[in-house]
């Protein structure tokens, strides 16, 4: 089991290396731009050349990549171009906020999604299942900004429960904090719940076509018992995978949600980095998102290995 897990970790590390190469080569393919962007339109060619030498942009691409990778590994993320602060500092300020938002959304959506998924698997083919399936199918396809605008319209404009589009920094007390977080969390959870519920249902139903489930049916076990006692333990691996993949969607959804609600997280930092063509900041943000994705998938893999007796004994 440990060798299996160690191998998964090794593959994840290798993938991360490949990802870093992809991110670097896309963002660094036009080397002149960073110096040009830092100095603006009025810069003379000599000034740009000097700054490029200072930033190390005149070196060949593979050297720059190795330098950047070394910095990444040693925790030195470079200097932000747009406001001349270390990238690490900027990210350190924003990352906890994003993690709090994503964590709250995950804590809310996982139980809801699993219950919807398992419930529709138990009553597969019933009217409840059909309604839930169509509803989640439609929810999956809704853009986040529609969810966000409808939420603002209902809770802020019509009902006046929550304030629209404003994040209250360091809100004192529990009620203002709830009010600040309610809409971003709701919006983030909306699509994730639908995604996760559909994948959970599919994973459980996939087990329902196995011979041991047929045996349980012939024995006369109730549908709830068949799903909860027989199918679900065997579907734990795929369900964990579904949860991880859906949660990884939080990463992308956060970009829209943080922007629309003006939430000072790492995703809105990344959008600013794209707008300002602030490459060091952008590269660091992209790597953090990819890392988060890989960690989620890795955790699901490890959970699948631990939860399956067949793999556990290897």
């Amino acid at each position: 089991m440990t060798t299996l897990i160690a191998r998964r970790i090794g593959i994840a590390a290798l993938t991360l290396l490949l990802v870093s190469a992809v991110v670097f080569s896309i963002t660094a393919v036009l080397p002149g731009d960073a110096a040009q962007a830092a100095l603006g339109q009025s810069a003379t060619p000599e000034m740009i050349a000097a700054l490029r030498a200072q930033m190390g942009l005149d070196q060949p691409a593979y050297l720059r990549y190795l330098h950047w990778l070394g910095g990444l590994l040693s925790g030195n993320l470079g200097q932000s171009l747009s406001n001349n602060t270390p990238v690490g500092e900027l990210i350190g300020l924003r990352l906890p906020k994003s993690l709090l938002l994503a964590g709250t959304a995950a804590a809310l959506s996982v139980p809801v999604a699993l219950s919807i998924g398992i419930l529709s698997a138990i009553y597969r083919g019933s009217r409840l299942d059909r309604v839930l399936s169509t509803a989640t199918l439609a929810m999956v396809a809704v853009p986040e900004f529609l969810v966000a605008t409808v939420a603002v319209l209902i809770f802020a404009v019509k009902l006046h429960w929550l304030s629209a589009l404003s994040y209250v920094p360091d809100a004192p007390g529990i009620v203002p904090m709830l009010r600040a977080y309610a809409m971003p969390v709701m919006t983030l959870s909306f699509v994730v719940v639908a995604q996760m519920a559909r994948m959970t249902r599919a994973a459980v139903i996939d087990q329902m076509s196995q011979p041991y489930v047929e045996m349980a049916i012939l024995k006369g076990a109730s549908p709830a018992r068949i799903v909860l006692r027989h199918a679900l333990p065997n579907a734990a691996g795929p369900v964990a995978n579904a949860v991880a993949l859906s949660l990884s969607y939080l990463l992308g959804g956060a970009i829209i949600v943080e922007t629309i609600f003006n939430y000072p997280g790492i995703a809105s930092l990344m959008v600013d980095a794209v707008t300002n063509r602030d490459m060091p900041l952008l590269q660091a943000c992209a790597m953090i998102f990819c890392c988060a994705y890989l960690i989620l998938v890795l955790l699901a893999d490890v959970f699948a290995i631990i939860s399956s007796p067949k793999l556990r004994r290897r």
Binding site: A138, A141, L146, T149, L153, I255, L282, F289
Partner: protein, 302 residues
């Protein structure tokens, strides 16, 4: 005496066959679909027509400032109200749909064709090529789609061809993975062995033996890619990083009217709803397709 018995036996069978044929004709025209599938089909056809004919149907010019107030509510003159400059929202949507639908069709088509071609190549080639290609494309799937798009926009800007390419590259690995797994399963079928024994080349086997048998699931997958691309590109436009002004897709319309949110203006709701009906319609249509094509949509992730 025996003849009538035979014919009376044969008749119901013949009738069944005729009914089956008739049903399959219905099915071919999409009328064997479930109600939700029909709604989906209707919505998709509607949006395709809008993308094709929209500018001809638009009551006002795309940039014409026709209303006296900004964010006017819907009226007989402006069915969907006016936007932040006093332009007609309905006309803006009719023009904008062309960008949203056209870009998404092109991007999804590119992703699906390239993914299918690479998947087929991987399945019929040796293990080495297959492994390398699969590892590389797997690494690409580890970059969340919106992050990848942001990185691409930062690196190369957001011209229309580049947005299309970005969308195609983002969803190529997913299409590849599905095409490859379908093709690998078909590659071990007996009729493929027969073709190989006949001395057919790899290209012939890929194009004439395997491809025709995976075209239906790949079409369903294409529909899903289309939905993903619509959501990705309108999300980018919403962030101001997608289609650049003066051109505007449906996502840009939501962005430019965001200040109308506080008054609940239709100028912000209608474009957002337009995107949602398009994507939900395609999803409903794919979901009601029969058989194994449907299974694709259950495990898919945007």
């Amino acid at each position: 005496m025996t003849a009538p018995i035979v014919s009376s036996r044969a008749d119901p069978q013949a009738a069944v066959i005729v009914v089956r044929q008739r049903r399959s004709v219905w099915r071919r025209w999409g009328l064997g679909l479930s109600p939700s599938g029909l709604i989906g089909l209707g919505t998709v056809v509607f949006w395709l027509l809008v993308a094709l004919l929209g500018p001809m149907l638009a009551p006002h010019g795309v940039g014409a400032i026709v209303a006296d107030d900004s964010f006017a509510p819907s009226s007989a003159q402006f069915p969907l109200g006016s936007d932040y400059l006093g332009r007609d929202v309905l006309s803006r949507i009719l023009y904008g749909a062309r960008y949203t639908v056209g870009l998404a069709l092109a991007g999804a088509l590119l992703a699906s064709t390239a993914g299918t071609a690479l998947g087929l190549a991987a399945a019929v080639s040796g293990r080495w090529i297959d492994e390398t290609m699969s590892r590389l494309l797997d690494a690409l799937t580890c970059i969340p789609s919106k992050i990848f798009a942001l990185v691409m926009v930062a690196g190369f800007g957001s011209s229309v061809p580049l947005l299309m390419l970005t969308a195609a590259l983002t969803y190529l690995p997913g299409a590849y993975r599905i095409a490859r797994s379908l093709a690998v399963n078909l590659n071990v079928m007996e009729y493929v062995d027969v073709a190989r024994a006949r001395g057919e080349g790899r290209a012939h086997i890929a194009c004439f033996e395997i491809l025709p048998n995976m075209i239906h699931p790949m079409l369903a997958d294409f529909g899903l890619r289309f939905v993903f691309v619509v959501l990705l590109l309108s999300g980018l436009s919403f962030l101001g990083l997608g289609v650049q002004p003066p051109a505007a897709d449906l996502g840009s319309l939501v962005r430019e009217n965001i200040s109308g949110l506080a008054e609940g203006s239709p100028a912000i709701m209608m474009p957002a709803l337009a995107i949602a009906t398009l994507t939900i319609g395609v999803n409903l249509l794919i979901d009601s397709l029969p058989g194994r094509t449907k299974r694709l949509s259950q495990g898919a992730l945007r």
